[in-house]
């Protein structure tokens, strides 16, 4: 079986980001913030400092590597929570209908009406800053799109012949949802989830910028970007490298999502084979 180019490029980009995060302590040249040295402030990228240094003389290369840990963790885990909440609510609402559907719909509408960043901000204000509360805040606030998608898919799938047939064969509700509905709606859900990881990485940046996310001196891509904002004309490398890291990771995730959707669909798989 030949895999698509999407899957390869996306997979490689994501793998690089993941490896960078996991091996950060070994790949980094310096400690992300303990090795600050004002004598080395704002050195452009070069032989010694690959990505340059920031205003406090910290090595940007090392900070980007360590930032991968925080940003990817926040992105993956919070999107995982979003997907689980969204799919569970949407799938059951679409399949069962009735008052449960009305309730989930109402809840989704409320969630859509409140800007998710503001909501996350409120949760962060209650929980206090930190990695854990950041994940919880982002994980609880942007499931409405996944939920809508799962509900719509469940509604259209439940009238399919094979779902009806499964009922006549004695499948229970849970088995129908897990074996008939979920696999058939997974394609778009995965695509949305990969987009959502990128979105969560960006939301993390916004919250960190507002002082409620990752606190200095810990580096995350988002917080590095927002710290670099003032120096974008004088020291552009401060924003270019974390920005490039976000860009390539999000691009990789999107390509990976596309590729996964293709191999999850046996019809397109056999077309290619």
């Amino acid at each position: 079986m030949k895999l698509g180019a999407n899957l390869w490029i996306g997979g490689v980009l994501c793998a690089i980001a993941a490896i960078a995060g996991i091996l950060a302590p070994w790949l980094a040249h310096t400690h992300p913030f303990m090795d600050a040295n004002l004598m080395n402030a704002e050195i452009p990228p070069g032989r010694e400092y690959w990505f340059g240094t920031d205003g406090q003389g910290r090595d940007i290369y090392s900070r980007v590597l360590h930032g991968a840990r925080i940003s990817l963790t926040v992105g993956f885990v919070s999107q995982m929570i979003n997907s689980i909440i969204g799919v569970t609510l949407g799938l059951t609402a679409g399949y069962w209908g009735g008052w449960w559907d009305d309730f989930v719909n109402g809840l989704t509408n409320v969630m859509l009406a409140i800007p998710s960043l503001i909501f996350a901000l409120a949760i962060m204000a209650v929980l206090g800053p930190g990695l854990g509360s950041l994940i919880v805040a982002l994980g609880l606030t942007s499931w409405s799109f996944t939920c809508r998608l799962a509900r719509a898919s469940a509604l259209s799938l439940k009238s399919q012949g094979y779902v009806q047939a499964a009922k006549t064969l004695g499948y229970g509700d849970l088995r129908i949802m897990l074996t008939q509905l979920l696999p058939n709606m997974l394609g778009p859900i995965i695509v949305i989830a990969t987009l959502g990881i990128g979105g969560a990485i960006l939301s993390e940046a916004a919250l960190s910028f507002l002082g409620l996310g990752i606190r200095p001196p810990y580096p995350s891509w988002g917080s590095m970007l927002s710290e670099a904002r003032d120096q974008i004309t004088t020291a552009p490398w401060l924003s270019i490298f974390p920005g490039l890291a976000i860009f390539l990771t999000v691009l990789g995730l999107n390509l990976l999502g596309d590729g996964l959707r293709d191999i999850l669909d046996p019809q397109s798989r056999s077309r290619r084979a």
Partner: protein, 326 residues
Amino acid sequence: MSGTSLLSVENLRLDLTSGGKAHAAVEGVSFDIAKGETFGLVGESGCGKSITALSIMSLLKPPLGIGAGKIRLDGREIQNLGAAETRKLRGKRISMIFQEPMTALNPLSPVGRQIAEMFVLHEGASWKEAERRAVEALVNVRVPAPERRVKDYPHQLSGGMRQRVMIAIALACQPDLLIADEPTTALDVTVQAEILDLMRDLCVARGTAILMISHDLGLVANMCRRVGVMYAGRLVELRPSSDLFRAPSHPYTRGLVASLPRLGTRAANGQRRLQEITGTVPGITAFPPGCRFHPRCTVMTEGCKVTDPSATQLPGGGLVRCHHHG
């Protein structure tokens, strides 16, 4: 009635609720199916065949529902069982195959797994054991190269192969009754014959009764021992199939039989127009009073417009619902 009754439907009424009013889509339908018997239900589209089948499976959804009557399996009433009990019957004791083998299989699951799921679900088999039995099940439905086919996805199979897989799934747990809702309508004529032979052979071998729903009289004549003819939600005639085709009693059945094209009749009787039944089946909300067939009937009298005929026993066995049955 010969043999012990497996399924007995008694005075079934199915209501369609619309605008707060209940309309009887099916009314006064009674029939028995003996163990291992093949029973046919024929009629035009919209006469209530399919919803009768769905009601046996407890699969009617609002606005349709069972208004009155009893459905018994082995003497036990099954129309009011709880959800969990009903699920145990479905697939295990009563199975169903559908008209569209294209859509009745999960497109994202290999067919072997879909067969295996039945063993896991109803017999608590391990997946490994179930996968092995799935290959056997494919052998039974005469699918060539079953070891390879179990890994195939539905879209890789032809229509006939898919229907074979459906039959394998439906018969996996040796049910007592197989409901076949127009199982061959979507298939080629040659494939039809193969599928019907297959169903008959498998069911005879296992003693599985078949409830065959069709609008194809020829098919029903071939397959079924007894046939019920439905018209506008009523069972108008119920006879052994040989009698039904030799000497149809209800004017509607006579019309149906007369409208069948027959090979060789032109040589024997010269060229004749194929007969037809004029008009169409009335809608559920607009059933005429009296006998429901009277607006289309050739032997209709004034009485037919007023009085609904009751079921009359025929001398050779069977029932007819007509004032002027012949």
